[in-house]
């Protein structure tokens, strides 16, 4: 390979997919299907995978908030971040991220301030809108998601920085009395905050406010266009992002054999993202679609027969969802993919999760073996000073 890139950090996203028997493909999943024994095994196995990722040289362990589903047993990722942070004392921890619009931002600021101290400053976080189904979790309004995540993020920054008690009169949040203890460990600003740049709005907001950006699954070429917006906004705000401020997330499955890699990956990934909700009723899936459209900027209006509302006058059409290829194949092939992403997107951090377990959990033993190979073949190359 040519020496084009500097060191790229690899981060392991642990989803904690329920290891119990087939849990169907509906959302929300009925809690009666959840067995505490399998839950314990899931957390234990998931942490074993984290240990394997650390041994394999991954630079960080990351977790994310998802609700009401066996696909990810992480409704509060902060708890798992605390556990992992204690167990793996020298590894960076990322929570990518919190579904901020469905949470109390001050509570989130407090929890992350605690976690930052517990981890001795090894924490980074993301403030995200989440997936459409999350707006069914606590009965939150998806049309407000964009403005809530932006205001909430600024409020959290204030919570971490303000030296005196203060109140906040926002558009969506009202607090008359805030004084977060403990102070964040990482002074003066607190943990770095990552914002999703899958939307152009998000890229601009992150650049304007000095945040990191992350992309999830999106086509690298589309990411690159948003990185340009991010850099322009950052320049206007007086700073210049580096590759370390840019992260790209996708699924990973590496094997010595290309065929086996794809077979292993495909065994649990059939149907992709949409299979997560395949078992839901037509009406529910239509409602989920409507939430997705709301998050893409469509106005609410009166629902039509498709369940979608007309676009607000003057609003740009929502971009189509485009998904880039996962990191699947032999080590050489995956490294080539990663290098291409790093080049095209300008990302200095690549975050991966093991496979794409939508139709069932990948056995822990398989993931451990995969991570061992990744440690032997991927991380040393990605960590080379020139790649």
């Amino acid at each position: 390979m040519s020496s084009i890139l500097g060191r790229v950090k690899l981060e392991f996203f642990q989803t904690f997919a329920y290891q119990g028997p087939d849990h169907g493909s509906t959302w929300p999943a009925p809690p009666q299907a959840c067995d505490p024994g399998w839950t314990a095994a899931t957390y234990a196995g998931g942490l074993d995978e984290c240990a394997a990722a650390v041994d394999a040289g991954f630079d960080a362990l990351t977790f994310a908030e998802h609700h009401y589903s066996p696909k990810q047993l992480t409704p509060n990722p902060v708890l798992l971040a605390a556990v992992a942070g204690q167990r793996f004392g020298s590894t960076d921890i990322g929570v990518f991220g919190t579904d901020l619009p469905i949470n109390n931002p001050v509570r989130i600021a407090e929890e992350y301030a605690m976690l930052d101290n517990l981890l001795g400053g090894r924490l980074r976080v993301a403030m995200l809108r989440g997936t459409p189904n999350e707006y069914f979790t606590y009965f939150d309004n998806p049309w407000e998601a964009r403005e809530r995540v932006e205001e909430g993020t600024l409020l959290i920054k204030a919570c971490w920085a303000e030296p005196e008690p203060f109140g906040w009169e926002g558009r969506y949040y009202r607090f008359r009395n805030i004084a977060v203890w403990p102070k964040v460990c990482q002074q003066p600003h607190g943990p770095r905050i990552l914002f999703s740049a899958n939307s152009a709005d998000g890229a601009v907001f992150a650049g304007t406010h000095g945040l990191d950006i992350g992309f999830s699954y999106m086509e690298p070429e589309r990411c690159a266009a948003h990185v340009t917006l991010y850099r322009e906004a950052a320049a206007a705000a007086g700073w210049e992002p580096t590759a370390d401020n840019i992260q790209y997330r996708h699924a990973l499955w590496v094997d010595e054999s290309e065929e086996r890699a794809w077979a292993s990956f495909g065994r649990y990934a059939e149907g992709g993202l949409f299979a997560l909700f395949a078992g839901a009723s037509d009406d529910t899936r239509m409602a989920l679609g409507k939430v997705g459209m709301a998050m893409a900027g469509l106005g609410r209006g009166a629902p039509d027969s498709s369940g979608l509302a007309p676009r607000e006058p003057g609003a740009p059409p929502p971009p189509p969802m485009t998904v880039g290829p996962p990191f699947v194949g032999t080590p050489d092939r995956v490294l080539a993919q990663m290098r291409a992403v790093a080049e095209v997107v300008g990302a200095g951090r690549i975050e991966v999760h093991a496979g794409f377990p939508v139709t069932g959990a990948i056995p822990t033993a398989d993931t451990l073996a995969m991570l061992t190979l990744a440690g032997r073949e991927l991380t040393p190359v990605a960590h080379a000073e020139s790649w």
């Binding site: 005196e164 009169e169 008359r176 009395n177």
Partner: protein
């Protein structure tokens, strides 16, 4: 605003910002002081910023709940004010105007330069000031801007996140600047905090609400905590999505918070909104 009347006049114009306000002049400290007034109820005396008295949708909303009296500070009208060297002097002149209005006690709201003046007025006469609200007060100005030096775009951005809302905003007239800015400079000083004044603030018993727009480009909001730290009976509140001119950027939010504070004092920290969805 222009003014020459000596009796209260109501400009009845529903929907026009400031349309409910009338005006009159009172004689105080050797000045004809113009007072713009609307509403009934407990008096809320408002001291404007260096740009002079301005109507706003926020004052209109407050006038639906209180008797709002917007005072043109001596020196901002037709007569120059060479008599004062500092905010204590200006506050004494304003106190005389308040006396002339016959107010024995009142709530006080000061904006920017008027906030600094209001602070001195409350220090001078805390018995009569029931509550003090400081909107982007200009007393302390670490990392802040002199608006007279800003270009047109920067000026608008410093004052307003939403220039499309409320009263139109334009950079000040050069003639106005020439006439008033020497007085402004004399009063404002360098914006630093001295120990003697800090000690004075620590004795002020008046309950005080300090407001800053998070996007304030004139008085940097980093100055807000100084008030919270020094004033023993104070609370600091940031208004999101607003710059220096909170009254025009987010009028409903401003009127809501200030109205609640004036009405309930520090009980405004208590949420009394009914959370019951259905019985």
């Amino acid at each position: 605003m222009t003014h020459s009347e000596t009796t209260t006049t109501t400009i009845a114009a529903a929907g026009i910002i400031g349309g409910a306000f009338g005006y009159r002049t009172v004689t105080a400290a050797g000045f004809d002081v113009t007072v713009f007034e609307a509403g009934d109820g407990v008096p809320l005396v408002c001291l404007p910023g260096a740009g002079g008295p301005r109507y706003s949708p926020a004052l209109d909303l407050l006038a639906q709940r209180f008797r709002v009296l917007l005072i043109e500070l001596p020196g901002w009208g037709d007569e120059p004010n060479d008599a004062v060297a500092d905010f204590d002097g200006l506050a004494a002149q304003v106190a005389a105007a308040v006396d002339a209005l016959g107010l024995t006690s009142y709530h006080l709201l000061g904006t920017s330069l008027g906030g600094a003046c209001a602070l001195h007025l409350a220090l001078a006469d805390p018995e009569r000031v029931i509550s003090l609200t400081l909107e982007a007060p200009g007393k302390f100005r670490i990392d802040s801007a002199d608006p007279s030096t800003l270009g047109p775009e920067a000026f608008v951005r410093a004052f307003r996140t939403h220039p499309e809302r409320g009263m139109p905003i334009e950079p000040p007239d050069p003639e106005f600047l020439q006439r008033v800015w020497p007085l402004v400079g004399r009063l404002m000083g360098d914006g630093s905090l001295d120990d003697a004044f800090a000690a004075r603030l620590s004795t002020l018993p008046t309950r005080t609400l300090v407001l800053f727009g998070r996007n304030d480009g004139v008085i940097n909001p980093v100055n807000g905590p100084t008030y919270r730290r020094l004033l023993p009976n104070s609370t600091l509140l940031y208004v999101h999505d607003a710059a220096h001119d909170i009254q025009n950027d987010r009028p409903e939010a401003f009127a809501d918070v200030v109205g609640d504070f004036v009405t309930r004092g520090m009980n405004f920290l208590i949420n009394e909104t009914d959370g019951l969805i259905n019985p």
